[in-house]
């Protein structure tokens, strides 16, 4: 199947759950396992939280966009903000690196380990985009074998 959606919202902490729920509902149009769906939720939560905290410095008037598409058995996600951007991406990606003293520096780690593809692009002063892909696992045997042939 093929499908596309886009969710835009204000940079409020309350909207992290909104993004999670929306993307989980969209992703469930594919045959993801419950574990996969949990992982997708964490990845979305981390990406959107980053836009709110780091991108917009917790100011509530920024806009976060979450763009999702399904093509075949693949879910593509984009999380975008027009916030302050990241100066040094390799440093930001290091496990445990955070510019905020009380944060864990695990957001990008989770996004990378939970999704099959992951990429960050950023323009300092202009914003950040995270691109992630997750593929539905093709099950073999029984009903799902046919899906395997098609997919």
């Amino acid at each position: 199947m093929n499908n596309q959606m886009k969710l835009e919202f204000l940079s409020l902490a309350e909207n992290v759950a909104l993004a999670r729920v929306t993307i989980a509902s969209f992703a469930s149009q594919l045959d993801f396992t419950l574990t996969d769906l949990e992982e997708i939720k964490v990845a979305v939560s981390e990406g959107v939280s980053n836009s709110i905290i780091h991108g917009y410095g917790n100011q509530p008037d920024g806009t976060v966009r979450v763009i999702a598409s399904i093509s075949g058995d693949t879910l593509e996600l984009r999380i975008e903000d027009d916030g302050k951007g990241i100066e040094d991406i390799p440093q930001a990606l290091q496990p445990a690196f955070s510019t905020e003293p009380d944060r864990m520096g695990l957001g990008f780690v989770f996004m990378q380990s939970f999704m099959d593809q992951f990429q960050v692009t950023s323009e300092p002063g202009r914003g950040t985009r995270v691109f992630m892909v997750k593929k539905q696992i093709v099950h073999e045997g029984g009903v799902d074998k046919v899906q395997g042939l098609e997919g």
């Binding site: 759950a17 419950l34 939720k41 939560s45 009380d102 864990m104 695990l106």
Partner: protein, 111 residues
Amino acid sequence: MQLEFEHINKTLIVRVGGELDLAVAESFRNEVEGALEEQGVQNLILNLKDVSFIDSSGLGVILGRYKRITQVGGNMAIAEAEPQVRRILELSGILRIMGAYETENAALDAV
């Protein structure tokens, strides 16, 4: 987020429910901090039975409490985390510094 507190000797048990993300991180931290400041509290057990979701914002609060508690010689443990929550705890490395137990009693014995 729901919080329930119980004191057993020097140990504070906090039973948490809901989704531990950015939206609740601050009040989660403040309310647990408040309870930890009560006299005679030395150890902390977080019962995560009713936590349905946790991400790095929630983990950050847990790690912060761990640092504070151990600085003054106390212990901390996790109890009753559901598999999906436990998995995130594990991946974060938090379970290398504190134990996660199936029951509150096992956690109580450990701290």
